[in-house]
Each structure stands twice: as structure tokens, then as C-alpha cells.
Amino acid sequence: MTETDHADSVPPAVAAETAPREADAPGEVLISVTDLTKHYGPIRAVDGISFEVRRGDVLGFLGPNGAGKTTAMKMITGFLEPDAGAVLVAGLDVARDRLAVSRRIGYLPENAPAYGEMSVEAFLGFIAEARDLESPDAAIDSVIDVTHLRRVRGQTIETLSKGFKRRVGLAQALIHDPDVLILDEPTDGLDPNQKKVVQDLILSLSSNRCIVLSTHILDEAERVCNRAVILSEGRILVDSTPDDLVTRAPGHNAVRFRVVDGDADGVVAELSAAAWCAAARVLPNGEVEVEPRAGEDRLNDVLATVGERRIAGVRVREGRLDELFRDVTRGVAA
């Protein structure tokens, strides 16, 4: 039988912790990546990237397919050896101390692979044994509670829904309470309810560790991450907070309104002449849209230009991360 899971299965205790966190004082650096480079034959998958992640950070790796996100994560975990550069995790060099590093890292590989023929409990038992935990039974019980797997703990993994499988993957990554969590597309392929469950879980885990997650879903980055890195062709194009990225997105602070009596084209002509105006147009639905330069807040200037004309439905649009993503990954500088 295949189990299903729903967003409403998240207990209030976890759901209450899902509000986006404010940036605290900078925590200790847990991941330090310097000039990391990896080739697959002639293809440069990762091209000299450098960044740091501190305790309390949830860093989103964004980028199109083949951008180098997964390869970078595999090098951070020590699964792949870089061609050049270095990765330090909690001050330990991954190349020299892979075993010690692996004790500090919890890793959810892409598609959350697990031994399908094993039950959830047996699988976590294997992970606990491999990690040589002092109290494996207590660790399994605890992580099963945290990831809400109690009702499927005796079930074979191959019979679970994708959402539950993903939570089993998270459970194995969390069983040793690591400082560093690396999650490769943790919500890929899940339905919206399952996505929310996993995102809530990630948020609930973020307070006392650092999390690096890759995703294609930009809403997810906005919701879960307090920092976002956009990668393309193995290089970091943007490294900032999601809020900042939103303000840099094309169309941020664009003003839309309807001209009730009068000539919309005339209004557009006047607005276009203003120095602060990047673009003004009449939309197919008859509304006027004005984009200020550099995403500045120009609502008052728009209203002043409109003057005595009657307008309605005035609203200011926020920038969208996906538009910035498209711009940046097309090669347009952010």
C-alpha cells in the first residue's frame, strides 16, 4: 500500500517555527569554499566558486539544469574530489579529513536514494550503525518524531510515497544532529502539499545549524532561505538575500493603474519622457504599467505626472525572483 501525506499532517509545534527568520549576529563559519573547480572531461562543471556559510544560514543554490549545483554539493560532502580549490567544513579540510567531515554533515542526495527493500526503521538502524552512534535506538526514535515518520516506521521504503521517502532521506541526514545539512533538491517532484511539509521541516531545522539546499523552485528559495546564490555554467552570478534579489528583479516597484477618463496613450507618452522612467506601456487589458529605473519607488512621481486625470486600481508590483533568475542566467548582469 502506498501512503500519502499532507501538509495538515505537520504538528503545530513545527508549523509555528516556520516564520522566516531575521538575520541574527553572524554565526561561526561552518562551510568555507575557495576557488572550487571541477571538470567532467572538457566540460567545466564548477568554475572557481568561493563562498562561506555560517551557522544559522539557509543558503539556496539556484540555477538552471547543468549549472553545477549538484557537483558543488558533491564536492562539499567529499563524494567528489575537486580538480582545484578547497572546502573546509567546521574548519576541517574535506580532502584530508573526509571521515571527520562526514560526521559533521548530514546529506540528502538528489532523489533521496535509500535501500528500498529495507523498512524505515531498519534503514535508519543501518545509518545509525554506520555513524557509530552511542544511543542508536534513542537517535532513531528522536529523528522519527522530528520527521513525522512514526506511522510508517515499520513500512518498507519502496512502498512509501515520494513525500515520505523524502522525509526518510531527511531523517537519515539528521540522525546524528549535524551542524551542516546539505540538501540536493529536497522538494523536487513532490506535490504542493508534500512540498510544504518538507519546507516546514527544513525551516524548523534551521535555527542551530547551517543548511545548503539546491532548488529550481524560486518561491521555495524566497520562503525557506535567508541567502541565495545563483549559479550558471559553474560560476556564481549572484550571492545575496532573497529580499535583496527581489528588489533587483526587473519590474520591481512597477506601478499599474487604469485611466478612467482620458487618453492612456497620452499618459504613457508623458511618463516615458520622465528621467526616472525605464519603460511605460499600455497593457492588453488597457492598464498602464510604468517601470521605474533601478526598481526605485516612484509612486509619487507617477501620481504627479498623471495630475488631474481620473485613475483607478493603482497598485505597486513587487519584483519576482524568477524574472531576475531568467535575466541573470540569460547573461544579463543583475
Binding site: Y107, E110, E117, F126, I127
Partner: protein, 267 residues
């Protein structure tokens, strides 16, 4: 003790360094061994192995156990390497190929487990499973003991030889499992390599080599014959060079397999 002394890393002994190389072996061994019995495949393998070895033992065309009227197990063990050639790759094929196909290799090798530990853990699990299969031929021993007075040294060494032959062929199978994501491809390549390895020992090959390359090369090839070393032990002759042959070749194939896995993993 001063603070500096208390924080200084403990000196690593040679034994400790060796143990560090095989971290995680026990966990992998236990998981893989249980894995054989988690599905019907393990039981099917054992049944096929027992039917094949039993048939070849009593068949009038092969072992002729009932016609020989001798209290020994030559009829059982003389065909053992040829049974292994097909069945041992079947035991080995999933060990790495399945990990690589399903992506669990990434999980496994990012746990605090060394590549050597996981590789040897899988090898020992497969070997333990084969040992269980071989030891389930005990009714044949019981029957021989009931009918006459067998040479117990030869019986014991026959079992030792079977386990050693299984180890070499398992190490070959493991290498091909590490080489391919596809279990069927891994199986076919391992059978082909195992057959080739066994054919070195047949008289026709040695005659051919002797004819074309001379007696010295023939002796070298003969010393590499798994069949010859296997038969030496099953006759009850405990020879160091035969034991060394099995140990060194098993170790050699295992090391090659680890190198292959390390390379395929990285690329």
C-alpha cells in the same frame, strides 16, 4: 597533564591506522548479508546451487557418486568451480551495480565509511552468503560418513578450497559490479572473466601454451591455474603455494575493484 598534552592527537598505531582504513565495514557487512535474505532471490540462489551441485554429484555423466562406491566427496567438489563460475557472479552482480543505479552509492560513500571498508564489507557479506550455501551441502558429508570412512582432512580441505575459490571468483564479480551500473552487464562480464580465469588451468590451454611459448611459460601458466590449486587442496594436500594463490589473487582482484570504484565514482 597539561592542556597542550590533553589536546594533542593520540598517536596512531599501525593497527589503528589499518582499522581506520576499514571504518564502517561491519555495518555494510551486516546490511548486505541480511539483504540476501530480504528477498526470495537469496533463497532461490541457494536452492539452485544445491540442485546443481547435487545433480552433478550423482549424475552418471558427471560425478558418478553412486557408481564409484568410494567414501569421498570428489564427485561433489570436482565440479564446484564450474558451478561457481555462473552462480558467484550472480551473488556479486548487485553489490555495486545496484548501488550505482539507484544512487545509494552517494549516500553510502558520504557516511563515515571508507571506500575500503564498504568494499570489503560487501565482499565479506557475499562470501558469508556463499559459505552458507556451500555448508548446506552437509547432507553429502553425512551420507559419506554413513557409508564408509572418508579422509576427513580431504573433506575439510575440500570445503576450504571451495570457500577460497568462491572468494577469488567473488572478487572478480565485485570488480565488474563496480564497473557497470547494469547488473546484467556486470553478470555477463564477470562470467566471461571467470571462465577465462578457469580455462587457464585446463590441460588443452597448457598444452597450447607449451607448444607455442615453451616449457617455462607453460609452467608459469600452470602455476596460475585455479583448477590445479583447487584440486591440490581437495586431494587433502595442504600446500602453502595453493593457499597463497587464492589469497593473493583474491586480494589482487579486490584492490583492482577498489581502484575501479574510486575512479568510476569520481567521474
Amino acid at each position: 597533564m597539561s592542556a597542550d598534552q590533553s589536546t594533542a592527537p593520540a598517536p596512531v598505531t599501525a593497527g589503528g591506522a589499518l582499522a581506520l582504513r576499514f571504518v564502517g565495514m561491519r555495518a555494510v557487512l551486516r546490511r548486505e548479508f541480511r539483504g540476501y535474505f530480504a528477498s526470495p532471490l537469496g533463497y532461490i540462489f541457494i536452492v539452485i546451487f544445491l540442485i546443481a551441485s547435487g545433480y552433478l554429484m550423482v549424475s552418471r555423466d558427471f560425478g558418478r557418486f553412486l557408481e564409484m562406491r568410494e567414501a569421498n566427496l570428489d564427485a561433489l567438489f570436482s565440479y564446484m568451480p564450474w558451478i561457481f563460475v555462473v552462480l558467484v557472479p550472480a551473488v556479486a552482480m548487485r553489490l555495486w551495480a545496484e548501488e550505482r543505479r539507484s544512487g545509494t552509492v552517494e549516500l553510502l560513500l558520504t557516511l563515515p565509511i571508507t571506500l575500503e571498508g564498504s568494499y570489503l564489507g560487501k565482499f565479506l557479506a557475499g562470501w558469508a552468503f556463499l559459505a552458507v550455501s556451500v555448508l548446506l551441502t552437509w547432507p553429502a558429508v553425512f551420507q559419506v560418513a554413513r557409508l564408509g570412512d572418508p579422509d576427513w582432512g580431504a573433506v575439510f580441505l575440500s570445503y576450504v578450497a571451495s570457500l577460497l575459490a568462491a572468494a577469488v571468483l567473488l572478487a572478480i564479480g565485485l570488480l565488474f559490479s563496480a564497473l557497470s551500473k547494469n547488473q546484467v552487464v556486470a553478470f555477463i562480464l564477470a562470467v566471461a572473466a571467470s571462465v577465462g580465469f578457469l580455462l587457464i588451468g585446463v590441460p588443452q590451454t597448457q598444452e597450447f601454451v607449451g607448444k607455442w611459448f615453451g616449457g617455462y611459460v607453460e609452467r608459469v601458466v600452470s602455476s596460475l591455474s585455479l583448477v590445479d590449486h583447487f584440486e591440490t587442496l581437495t586431494r587433502g594436500l595442504l600446500q602453502l603455494n595453493s593457499l597463497l594463490f587464492f589469497v593473493l589473487f583474491t586480494a589482487g582482484w579486490l584492490i583492482c575493484g577498489m581502484l575501479v570504484l574510486s575512479r568510476t565514482k569520481t567521474n
